[in-house]
Each structure stands twice: as C-alpha cells, then as structure tokens.
C-alpha cells in the first residue's frame, strides 16, 4: 500500500435502496470518483437507519456518517424520509453536544438520477470530515484495532 500522508477519514454512508443507492450506482456507471473510504450500507429506506447504527459507527472508529434518502415527497414508502430527517436532527444535535461536531454528520437527499450529486456530496462531505481530523470523542477504546 502506498504510504498515505494526508488523513483519510472513514465514512459510513447509509443509502436507501430506491433512490440514493441507485444514485450511487449512477455515479459509478458515470465513473464519477469519490474517496475510497466512503463505504455504503444499503438499507430499504432512510427510516431504517437506527440512531444506534450511527452511534455504533462512531464507536467503531468512523469519522463521519451520512444518511442519504429520496427527496422529500419521493420516498418509496411515502413518509420514511420525514422520520429519518426528524430522528437525525435530534441525534445530530445530541452528538454535537457530546463533541462529535455537526460537520461529521449529514442527511442528504439524492435521487436515482443524481449520480453527479451523489459524487459531489461524498467529495464535499469527505473534505469537511477530513478537515475535522480523526474522531476520537465517542470511539470505544475496546474496539480499537492495532493499526488505529
């Protein structure tokens, strides 16, 4: 592996199956690059993202977590993204209070046609998270692997 000088943040991206995951596929087939440390977890709908998953990601060493769903009004299940948005707003403000800066968490609506937006969002998010450095605030020391 090449020796990396610049810090590369670990990012977990929860994408709903119907819009954002398809948007990520379109970014792929359009060959639009974004950092390799952004890794996607497919969920049926943004409303499937339990706040516990986000806490778990930060405990396990993620530096940023993003939830992507269909645009308001377009959720495959009509209302899921409204729940996701409300839950995220609460959790993110609590995380900010705990010292996980608000720049490390984000909700973004990406449609199946927005490959460009998906890649741009991931690039921008990764840049913001990178500027905040490693997230140590709620990392669980017991979860630390030897290299981190």
């Amino acid at each position: 592996m090449p020796v990396e000088s610049a810090f590369q943040p670990k990012i977990a991206a929860f994408c709903c199956n119907w819009c954002s995951y398809a948007g990520a596929d379109l970014a792929g087939s359009s060959r639009l690059s974004y950092p390799a440390d952004v890794k996607i977890i497919r969920v049926p709908c943004s409303c499937r993202v339990n706040p516990l998953f986000i806490l778990r990601a930060f405990q396990r060493g993620a530096d940023g977590v993003i939830i992507c769903g269909c645009h308001p009004g377009d959720c495959h299940y009509t209302s899921g993204n409204y729940f996701a948005r409300r839950r995220a707003a609460l959790l993110f403000s609590m995380l900010d209070y705990l010292g996980v800066e608000s720049g490390r968490t984000r909700v973004e609506w990406v449609s199946a046609a927005e490959g460009q937006k998906f890649a741009a969002t991931m690039n921008d998010f990764a840049k913001t998270v990178a500027s905040l450095g490693k997230c140590r605030r709620i990392g669980d020391l017991r979860c630390r692997t030897s290299e981190s």
């Binding site: 592996m1 090449p2 670990k10 977990a12 199956n17 995951y21 398809a22 990520a24 596929d25 970014a27 792929g28 087939s29 060959r31 639009l32 690059s33 974004y34 390799a36 440390d37 890794k39 996607i40 977890i41 497919r42 969920v43 049926p44 709908c45 409303c47 499937r48 993202v49 339990n50 706040p51 516990l52 998953f53 778990r56 990601a57 396990r60 060493g61 993620a62 009004g73 377009d74 495959h76 299940y77 009509t78 209302s79 899921g80 729940f83 839950r87 890649a119 692997t145």
Partner: protein, 666 residues
C-alpha cells in the same frame, strides 16, 4: 453456522482491471464462516452460475456472497442461481465492487482494499442471515369499485371486459355521479347524457358487473388479493325486482317538500323518487325523512297506487359480506359549501348560483327544461357575471382558510363553456368572467377558451369580485376590480355564477380509514408514488380512479380510470401473489404494547393482540404488536421507532446492519 462461498466477479475487465480479484478471493478466505472463495470472469453467465452450483455441491455451502456489480442489476439472478443449487435465495448477499469500487477508483491497491472491505461486510451480514420463504397467497378474482361516477363506471367496464367480476358500490340511488348532472361538456360541447348514459346502461347490463346502489362499504379487512368487505345495502323500501320504473308513485306522492339533490335544490321532489329519468337502476327509493308514512304512520298512498306491488315499507338495511382481490376508490368530489363566502350573496339571492346549479338550469332535463332563466322570477338573464376560483387557490397563512389552497382545475374550462352557452342561447346578453389566471392546458383547451373570448365576445376581466349586493328589485350589483386597467367596476347583473372549488366527497376520509389508504391534507387519496405510481394507493391492492385522487376533468378521469383498471387486471390475472419475506416482525417477549410502531407504519400493517407470552419461563397475558406480513412493505420505520427493540426487519435486522457497520469501520 453458515457455510459461506464467496465468488468474485471480474466483470471482464470492468472489475479486474482495477481490483486485484485474486487478492480479494484470497483475503476473504480468512473471514469468519467462509469455507470457499474463488473468482470468475463473468459470474452472471451460465458458467458463473454453474460455478456456484458445483461449489455448493462440493463444499456444502449454505450461503453465497457474490462480489460483483450492483445488487440492483443481478441480485435476482444470483438468488435464482442459489435456489437452483439448493441454497435458500435469501442467503445471498452481494458486495457491490463495480459501481462502488472499480468504476470510481483508479489506484489498484486502494480499490482492492475497498473491495475486500465490502466483501467482509457482505460476509458479516450473511453470517446473520436466516433462510426466508417468500409468502404466497391466492388471489380472489373479483374487484370492488367504490363510487359509481364516470370514474367508477369506466374502471368497472374495463375490468369486466377483461373477464373479471366487478361489484360497484354507489351510495346514492343511482350511478352516474356528477357527470350525469352536466349539460354540455367541454371542450367539444357534446351533451353529457349522450355520452354517459350508454356507459351506465352497459355497466348495468354487463354480465360480470353487479351494481349495489344506495349502498355503502361498512367494513374492510384482509389484504391485497384477499379483502373481505361488508356492504350495507340501505333499504330502498321498493323491491328492485318488481318495480318497472313507471313513476306513478312519485307522481301521486303527497309529500313534495324535499329539495332534489340531483337538481341541486332547484326544485322539490317527492318523498318516493327516482333522481332523474335515465337513473340506473330505474327504481325509486323512499326518503324516509320526508315520507309521511314513515314520519306520521298515515298515508301509504304509493303502496296503493303501485301497479306492480313493489313498494315495501318493511324493508330493512341488509349487510352482505363478499371477498375481493382488489379495491378501487372512485368516490369523486363535490363543490365546496359557500357558507363562508357571504360576500357573493349566495345565501341571500336565488339568482346567485353555483356552476353546478347553472348546469342544471341549462339542462333540457333540468328543473327549467333547459330554459335558462333566473331562479327568482323566471326571467331570461341579460347580464351574467361569472366568478372563477371561488374558494380555490387561496393563499395560505392569512388567518383561517376559507377555501382551498389548490387549483380546482376544471373551473376555467367550464366557465368558458357556460359563458358560451349563455351567449348562444341569448345573443344579446353580456357575459363577464372574472379570473385570477385562465388556465387551459389540455388538448384543444386553449383554443376553446379563445373561442369564448374572441368568437363569442365573452368579456374576460382579470380581477377580483369584492362584493355582490342583492338590490332587492331583482338586480344584483357586482363590485369588482379590473387589475389590468387598474380601476374599480360596478356591474348591474341579472345573475351571478360562482365557480365553487371542488373538494373530495365528505365520506372519503372515513373510507380511507377503512381501507388504511392514506390521504393528503386536503383529503384527496394519495398515490403510491406521485410520478411513477399515480393510480395505486400506498396500500397494496387499493387503487385510485377519478376525482378522489385530485381535481380532474372527464378526459383525465377516464384515462385514470382505465389505468386503474389495467393495474387491477394485472393483479387479478395472477393466481398467487408472491410476497416479500423481508418484513417486520415483533419479538413478543420484548414488546410492551406501546403502539409507537402502529403510528408510524404507512401501510397500517401493525395491529395489537392480547396473547399468552412465555417470557423467561413465566407465562403472561400481554397486549403485543403483530405485523400483517401481507401488508408490511418492509420499510423499517417501525423498527427504529420501537423503544423496546422488539421490532426488527427480516433481511435487514439491527444486528446485520451493525455487523456491516463494524466490518466497514474496521
């Protein structure tokens, strides 16, 4: 423990050029549960699928991970391949190493490392997968259409023509809806009855269609393919089998004080009545509220005069229960009440009428036999002011809303029609139309409006009517502003016609609750997807036809009715429905019956049961959530809402997603 085989696809060079596939299949062998790993040029090809089959046979695999293109491409392919090899199709996970990896990264080492991480996440998830069986249910090959307006009639005819039985439940004594009340129809000015009544007759005569008029849906249970519905047939007090529709009873009935609903209250009708001459069925009903026999016990004249002995005062409401595979809501609309629009003097002057009343006044079968006259004194009007957007397009935010925020869509066109009809009947009359905008998108619609303005000399004035005063001498003064000339106008009018906004039928809200179909803030039924699934409700097996989904004219209503029929036919043509096994399930030992999950489920899939729950050896009576797997669509909203961690989603369990999180954050 799951015995996992991992298959890394090269996708020709699409993956292999950027990802070191050998390194991936080598590295993944170390992941827990993996007993076999290989790579192959094209996993989706017959050769690739054969590789899965032989590896299953050789290594006794119980789970398969394919590292390939997006699951949106080939998940179904690999599930089928696995099933063919004897592995449960839901024990298959895909690591998307093409769209999410080889196609977007250039550095081979970086891409290979990411591919390994994605493969690990898939393996971690698969380790917690459990075999699932897609539920299969039979389909009852009969449809129910609720509402017998043009929308319901068209849907019923289309479904019945495809060979399926259809029942139509209509709450009023006849089918036909609002279209039966109209005189001429835009944009062609052909007569509404001429094009509607043949369809009504077809529906009544169709061997596959059963009409339940004067009936209502009382109860709905079940789910897509298997609904059970209670229909209340209200007592007509007249035997449908015996009555010949001669009409002697209505003629002789001494109680003629009720306002005719069909004629918009412009004339009185008898207590025993047929709404209009072409009504279907052509059988009267007794309105028990105004019938002297029912109110005072004295009278009984109709029974005596009926030559076919069809009148039967002892009839009672009857409830029948039937099974359906699909349900179509076609409950239509009504014009809004104008109590809150007193500035137009609607309640004070009989010569201020709604557009629907105007239709009846023009209609040859209407209360004036088509002689368009003022309701107050029967004189022909010389000056008529038409007011558009009464209660439509009301800007929100300024105090309590009197009207509706939306555009009623049909008023611009029917007002142009009314103004033309007036000018045609009385060439020396003046027609003024006040409008906010004239909106005429639609085939031949703008041409129609321009004809009204240019050929028929209708005065179109952009502006608002502030007040209508009844001067008492048979004159109405209309105060209005002309926004283009920027001046106030005072018009001496004989009649004022108000284009009242439309709203959903008031019974729609209760019906939506019975159907667990959702509605928007204006009580229009919502569609499953605003663009891509416009005639389906979010509740599987419930479809939408006509105005009940949003304002529409007849061409749009008929088009949507046909589309809804196509969806119904598609559903009924299946013998069995294969469901999605990735649905929510409740751990009864954890559930505290709080109802939080029920409130967030968009499909009404969750209900509560009191059950004996065995929790840590002790038996307990508890109220617990239970998921109807045929209704659940697997969104997961309930799983996150549940404060007890009792709800989980099969195929996307909390533990599985956590395992993925762990794997990618490693």
């Amino acid at each position: 423990m799951t015995k996992i085989g991992v298959f890394v696809c090269w996708c020709g060079s699409n993956i292999a050029a950027t990802v070191d596939v050998d390194a991936v299949s080598e590295a993944i062998k170390a992941a827990p549960g993996v007993v076999f790993a290989t790579n192959y040029q094209y996993m989706c090809s017959e050769g690739g699928q054969a590789a899965i089959r032989s590896a299953v046979a050789e290594h006794g695999l119980t789970g398969v991970v394919v590292c390939s293109c997006s699951p949106r491409m080939h998940e179904a392919t690999f599930r089928k391949a696995a099933a063919g090899a004897g592995v449960n199709p839901y024990m298959v996970e895909i690591a998307n190493i093409r769209e999410q990896c080889s196609w977007i990264h250039k550095d081979k080492a970086e891409a290979t490392a990411k591919a390994i991480a994605l493969a690990r996440a898939a393996v971690a998830k698969l380790n917690l997968d459990r075999p699932l069986t897609a539920p299969e249910t039979p389909v009852t090959k009969r449809a129910l259409v609720i509402g017998g307006g043009i929308a319901g009639i068209q849907t019923a005819l289309d479904v019945a023509d495809a060979g399926y039985e259809v029942d139509v439940v209509e709450k009023s004594p006849t089918i036909g809806g609002k279209m039966a009340m109209l005189d001429k129809t835009f944009p062609t000015l052909d007569c509404a009855a001429c094009i509607l009544t043949p369809k009504m007759v077809d529906a009544a005569a169709h061997e596959k269609i059963t009409l339940y008029t004067y009936s209502e849906v009382e109860k709905v249970s079940g789910f897509v393919g298997n609904f059970t519905v209670d229909i209340k047939k209200r007592a007509r007090s007249v035997s449908v089998d015996r009555c010949t529709g001669c009409g002697v009873c209505s003629e002789k009935c001494p109680s003629k004080r009720a306002k005719s609903e069909f004629d918009q209250g412009l004339r009185e009708r008898s207590a025993i009545y047929i709404p209009f001459a072409q009504a279907i069925p052509n059988v009267p009903v007794i309105d028990r509220d105004t019938c002297l026999k029912f109110q005072t016990g004295k009278c009984g004249l109709c029974e005596k005069v009926c030559p076919s002995h069809a009148v039967d005062y002892s009839q009672e409401d009857e409830v029948i229960t039937k099974q359906y595979g699909a349900i179509v809501a076609a409950t239509g609309f009504k014009p809004i009440g104008l109590e809150r629009f007193d500035e137009y003097a609607y309640s004070r002057s009989p010569d201020v009428v709604t557009s629907l009343e105007f239709e009846r006044l023009c209609n040859a079968a209407g209360p004036t036999k088509g002689h368009l006259v003022r309701p107050s004194d029967g004189k022909e009007p010389k000056t008529v002011v038409f007011v558009q957007c009464v209660g439509s397009r009301e800007a929100s935010g300024i105090g309590a809303m009197k009207g509706k925020p939306y555009c009623s869509k049909i008023c611009c066109m029917y007002t142009a029609k009314h103004a033309m009809l007036l000018r045609e009947k009385y060439p020396d009359s003046e027609a003024y139309v006040f409008y906010i905008d004239v909106r005429t998108p639609g085939k031949n619609f703008d041409e129609f409006y321009r004809r009204a303005a240019e050929e028929y000399g209708v005065h179109y004035i952009k502006g608002m009517v502030g007040k209508v005063c009844d001067e008492g001498n048979g004159r109405l003064t209309v105060r209005a502003s002309d926004l283009i000339e920027n001046r106030q106008l005072l018009i001496d009018a004989d009649m004022v016609v108000l284009a009242a906004a439309v709203e959903p039928d008031p019974s729609a809200r209760a019906l939506a609750t019975l159907l667990t179909a959702s509605m928007d803030t204006n009580d229009f039924f919502t569609e499953a997807h605003p663009k891509l699934r416009p005639v389906e409700s979010p509740t599987a097996g419930v479809f939408l036809s006509g105005m009940c989904q949003g304002p529409k004219d007849i061409p749009d209503t008929v088009a949507q009715a046909g589309a809804a029929a196509a969806k119904v036919i598609g559903l009924l043509s299946k013998d069995r429905l294969v469901g999605n096994p990735c649905v929510a399930s409740c751990d009864e030992t954890l559930c505290n019956g709080c109802s939080a999950c029920e409130r967030v489920c968009p499909y009404g899939a969750i209900s509560y049961e009191t059950k004996t729950v065995v929790d840590r050896g002790a038996k307990d009576e508890r109220r617990v959530a239970s998921v109807n797997e045929a209704l659940c669509q697997g969104c997961g909203a309930c799983t996150v809402t549940c404060p007890s961690g009792a709800m989980d989603l099969r195929g996307f369990t909390g533990r599985q997603i956590m395992a993925e999180v762990d794997a990618i954050c490693r």
